[in-house]
């Protein structure tokens, strides 16, 4: 891929500072927020409708602040959230928007722009992660410690899917459950990937079964964050020691890892269009890696323990290597399973058939006079091979 680095990233740290960083120049363009211990940034998200001039930050003291990125000032502030915020999403557009927050106590609240809580739902607690489906904002998933994955319909306030735990292990002990991060998989509305505190990556297919269709142990430490590549074929997990592993979705195997981390990786995000991963870790660095070569493009020191990272949607491309969104999706489509099979089918279709493979088998079983026929078949085979060569 192109090596363009004109990317910007927004980070939130444990002291309450939000910083806009230009990856290429490795410099902090903007810095806003006040440092205070109760202003630990727990969650960040863009404004409603992915509006990147506005960023919403949920802090430890139960307030949610809406910041104007350009002018570096607070536009709105909502207070009174009880517990730590584990999910923060802004839905809608600039005219009508809803702020969705979910705390670890299981309080799911919908706020209108004035800050009035229009609805409050109680979901099973404790919640470690809550996310809205980015491809269908009427659906959300959540999970936590001893709180297995559940998917809810936001409109009807109903549970649509409840995951089931794995069967008891060989000592007949119930395997413990601790969901630390979860993501919806692009291009497959029924799949959810989950990372657990017991080093597992689990994939659920809601149409297939309640138990995970894949359960893979990755590394030796609890998984702190998880992200899915744009093609849906690779999952990237970050654990509490700084091991960021790439998992192949189809094989269910660890492919490799991204290197260069010194501490727990608390947040991973994908660039909206390119195959770039940004990571925020407790060792006070933001790192950007490319997925295709797995190289680290940049590593920027930001003084606090970083909790969260967001990518800006701007990437100036270099000349002659256009990777605008439509082309990107074409490329990615080229890699989906269906397309590969079609392509394969096309290739196989052009090859001429070597005579009577199936016939041969049938004759073997039925007729005692096999040998003559086999010889004949063999001759036939040689003849057809000759024909092919010709």
């Amino acid at each position: 891929g192109s090596q363009s680095l004109s990317m910007r990233v927004l980070t939130g740290d444990h002291t309450g500072l939000l910083k806009v960083v230009t990856v290429e120049k490795k410099c902090v363009e903007k810095k806003f927020g006040v440092q205070a211990p109760e202003r630990d940034v727990e969650a960040l998200c863009w404004g409603p409708g992915n509006n990147q001039s506005v960023v919403v930050a949920a802090l430890k003291n139960g307030t949610v602040e809406v910041w104007d990125v350009e002018n570096e000032r607070v536009v709105r502030e909502y207070q009174g959230l009880e517990g730590s915020v584990r999910g923060l999403e802004a839905v809608g557009d600039t005219t009508a928007s809803v702020l969705v927050t979910c705390t670890d106590r299981g309080t799911l609240e919908f706020r209108n722009p004035e800050g009035v809580v229009t609805e409050r739902v109680t979901v099973p607690a404790p919640v470690s992660r809550f996310r809205l489906d980015p491809f269908n904002s009427l659906r959300c998933a959540l999970g936590g410690q001893e709180n297995d994955l559940s998917v809810w319909d936001v409109e009807k306030k109903e549970k649509v899917f409840q995951a089931k735990n794995l069967p008891n292990d060989r000592l007949r002990l119930r395997p413990p459950v601790w969901i630390t991060d979860l993501r919806f998989v692009p291009r497959d509305p029924n799949r959810i990937v989950v990372g657990t505190g017991y080093k597992q990556v689990r994939v659920y297919d809601m149409k297939a079964q309640r138990r995970p269709i894949l359960n893979l142990e990755v590394g030796e430490h609890p998984i702190q964050s998880l992200v899915v590549a744009h093609d849906g074929l690779t999952y990237i997990t970050g654990d509490s020691v700084g091991r960021v592993a790439l998992v192949d979705a189809r094989k269910g195997q660890v492919l490799g890892s991204l290197s260069g981390f010194g501490g727990s990786v608390r947040c991973l995000t994908m660039h909206p269009t390119l195959d770039r991963v940004a990571s925020a870790s407790v060792d006070r660095y933001v790192r950007v890696h490319t997925l295709d070569t797995r190289k680290m493009l940049a590593k920027i020191y930001l003084k606090g323990h970083l909790n969260h990272v967001l990518f800006f949607d701007d990437a100036e491309e270099q000349e002659g290597q256009e990777e605008s969104v439509p082309q990107e999706t074409e490329k990615e489509e080229g890699r989906t399973r269906a397309n590969v099979e079609d392509a394969a089918g096309a290739v196989w279709g052009t090859l001429p058939e070597i005579g009577g493979g199936k016939k041969n088998k049938r004759q073997k079983i039925d007729d005692p006079s096999n040998e003559d026929d086999e010889k004949a078949q063999g001759k036939n085979a040689r003849r057809t091979r000759g024909k092919e060569k010709a």
Partner: protein, 343 residues
């Protein structure tokens, strides 16, 4: 005047000598001619013996070249004085360190504010006095006990509890109820103290160190005996952000206000990521120009292996720093210390 003549003659003699050396070395083959082995591309030579020969000759030539340059520099120095060709400072691992972004500038507001609210801020604001709980690994050896005895003398406000079979997490829970500020767990390997876990309470970070070169009081020549005065602290070279945090952690083990009449000092000197612990008693001489030192107490070296958020929890804790051999550490990269810049 005679002296001056002598000096001038000696000076001339020296320069002549250097000249002769240079001509002798540069006589005949110079590196620009075709005969020079430095122009040969050894990868093109297929014969192993011949290739080896050429490589040796190249080495010799390179060495000679450097020698000639050195003598020329000496000559210039002799002729024109020291200032014309100043001697460059020797390159050591310390001063050719890889630059580190996390070096703390003098008045970094963000760092200062973070310090005001980190886990050690209460100690530095004097709201909390340190109270340490020291214990060992399970089944400690006698030498570890002797070492601990000296540590409890060196660091004030330490309480030793036998480890028995408690888990470290249990010990931490218990110490929180008894208002301890830190838990120190020493481990041993083959009869020598080998590891140290420092867990700051109530929710402070946990650092694990590797302990080496532990030397007891009685094996130090002319050692002194510890008293129970609170020592002064010296923390050297904790320059990077991680170093700063480790430095604060070590400082938080000791009482904030030393008792100067005790005249004793504890030093944590960080060099190339090894932290040297020394405990001395000092006395100023009559003029007050110099302080004589007498070493008391144990002597050991620490190396930070990992730094974890929260109290001791190896399974589920989040690590701020963990030393891994596959970090591709170069000889010039350190995590706690930075280049000693000349002021």
């Amino acid at each position: 005047e005679e002296k001056k003549d002598k000096e001038e003659k000696a000076h001339e003699k020296r320069i002549n000598k250097l000249d002769k050396k240079i001509t002798k070395l540069t006589k005949g083959k110079s590196t620009d001619t075709k005969k020079s082995f430095l122009n040969v591309e050894t990868s093109q030579v297929k014969n192993k013996l011949k290739r080896k020969e050429i490589i040796m000759k190249q080495k010799k030539e390179r060495k000679k070249k450097l020698k000639v340059e050195r003598i020329k520099r000496q000559k210039i120095r002799a002729e024109q004085g020291e200032e014309a060709m100043p001697i460059a400072p020797q390159k050591t691992i310390d001063n050719t360190r890889e630059a580190d972004d996390t070096f703390i500038q003098q008045e970094d507001e963000e760092v200062m504010k973070e310090d005001e609210m980190d886990e050690f801020s209460k100690y530095f604001k004097e709201e909390v006095t340190p109270k340490l709980l020291i214990t060992t690994c399970r089944r400690p050896c006698k030498k570890l006990f002797d070492f601990l005895k000296e540590i409890t003398d060196a660091i004030p406000e330490t309480y030793y509890y036998p480890r028995k079979n408690y888990k470290i997490k249990e010990i931490i829970e218990w110490s929180k109820t008894r208002d301890f500020t830190d838990v120190l767990v020493f481990g041993h390997h083959r009869n020598k103290p080998s590891s140290l876990i420092v867990s700051h309470l109530p929710e402070g970070p946990t650092a694990t160190f590797k302990v080496t070169s532990a030397k007891l009081n009685k094996f130090i020549h002319n050692h002194g005996n510890p008293t129970d005065h609170d020592p002064q602290l010296i923390l050297n070279n904790f320059d990077t952000r991680l170093g700063h945090r480790v430095g604060r952690m070590l400082a938080a083990l000791f009482p904030q206000k030393p008792q100067f009449e005790g005249r004793n000092v504890v030093t944590f000197h960080n060099q190339r990521d090894y932290i040297f612990f020394r405990h001395h008693r000092y006395i100023f001489n009559e003029q007050g120009t110099r302080a004589d030192l007498q070493e008391i107490g144990p002597r050991f070296t620490l190396k930070l292996m990992s730094m974890q958020h929260g109290t001791f929890d190896t399974r589920f804790g989040q690590y701020e720093f963990i030393w891994k051999p596959d970090m591709q550490i170069s000889r010039r990269k350190f995590f706690l210390q930075l280049i000693q810049k000349k002021k």
